[in-house]
């Protein structure tokens, strides 16, 4: 039975890491998406200063996880999300509501896809 231990432990470790990664990715992207929702509401109410500050905080939060994201996710997906954050910040500075809201919606959708890519589902496996 001892001889079965190394492969079974390795498989278990990969499985645990995969499940942990799936949960971490979901909670992180959900948090960023919630932050975007709040920022969007602030922009709609015309409070651009708070919207910009909220967006900057969310971007800092995102940037703090960049290394982890680059390790586990496709680099293209991570880079394009980064680009969307920066574009949304630029629209917030110029207070262009239509473009800002479109960018935020795009960013939220992108975050959802980032989390979905790591989710264990029949759709992903197949």
């Amino acid at each position: 039975m001892k001889s079965f231990a190394p492969p079974l432990l390795l498989l278990a470790a990969i499985l645990i890491f995969s499940i942990w990664n799936c949960n971490t990715m979901k909670s992180d992207t959900d948090r960023w998406s919630d932050q975007m929702e709040q920022v969007d509401a602030l922009a709609v109410s015309g409070d651009w200063k708070l919207a910009l500050s909220g967006l900057a905080d969310s971007y800092d939060d995102w940037s703090g996880n960049q290394t982890y994201l680059h390790i586990v996710a496709e680099h293209d997906a991570v880079d394009s999300t980064e680009g969307m954050y920066l574009r949304a910040q630029a629209f917030a500075r110029t207070e262009e509501l239509t473009e800002f809201r479109a960018e935020i919606a795009d960013l939220r959708n992108h975050l959802r896809l980032l989390s979905e890519m790591e989710r264990f589902s029949i759709k992903n496996v197949l």
Binding site: S3, F4, P6, P7, L8, L10, L11, I14, L15, F17, S18, I19, N21, C22, H70, I71, V72, A73, E74, H75, D76, M117, E118, R119, F120, N124, V125
Partner: protein, 227 residues
Amino acid sequence: MMTAFSRTLILYLLIMIGLRLMGKRQIGELEPSELVLTMMLSDLATVPMQDFGKPLLSGVIPILTLLALSMLLSQLSLKSLRFRSLVCGKPTILIENGKLRQGAMRKNRFTIDELLEELRGQGICDIQSVKYAVLENSGQLSILPWPQEQPPTVKQMRMDVKDDVELPRILINDGRVIERNLVDCKKSEEWLKTQLKKHGFGSPGDVFLMTLTGTDTVNCLPKEASK
């Protein structure tokens, strides 16, 4: 990660089943599980190596999963004969007592032309001169001719032959003395110097190869001067 992990599990098992269904002929020299591992590993390793946009883990996770699966399958094969025959298959007898087993050939999709080709490769032209031909799990055909079709052995001829098969030990390899072998042969540095002198060498550096057999026969090859 979870997707990569589960996809690897599914694909590994799928290819294993596919190869087992394809029969032994397709395998070549490896066993099915080894072939699947070799095929998949070589491809997986190149993906993150060439595409810098993909995380290294996208290659590492499937590789580790495959290695663990392969280790698990080989351990299971060691423990259970039934599992082993399920994964690796069983050798199939294609010729038994000089008679062709056509059913076994059909089952393994082994044509008569291929069988004759294999026999010719071993210098056999007639099926009847083969006692057994076994299609191994690796896809190779082992051919055992009738005793009267084989050259007689010393034992069969009841001859008394002196055992002179000796594995020579290398004492000097390209000018370097292999101290460990010298100790294993219970020879001293002094003995080595005497031997060198006896063969006309000044130092071990002049010798390309010096070997010693169990019957204390020393063979020396001088080192050629580099051009």
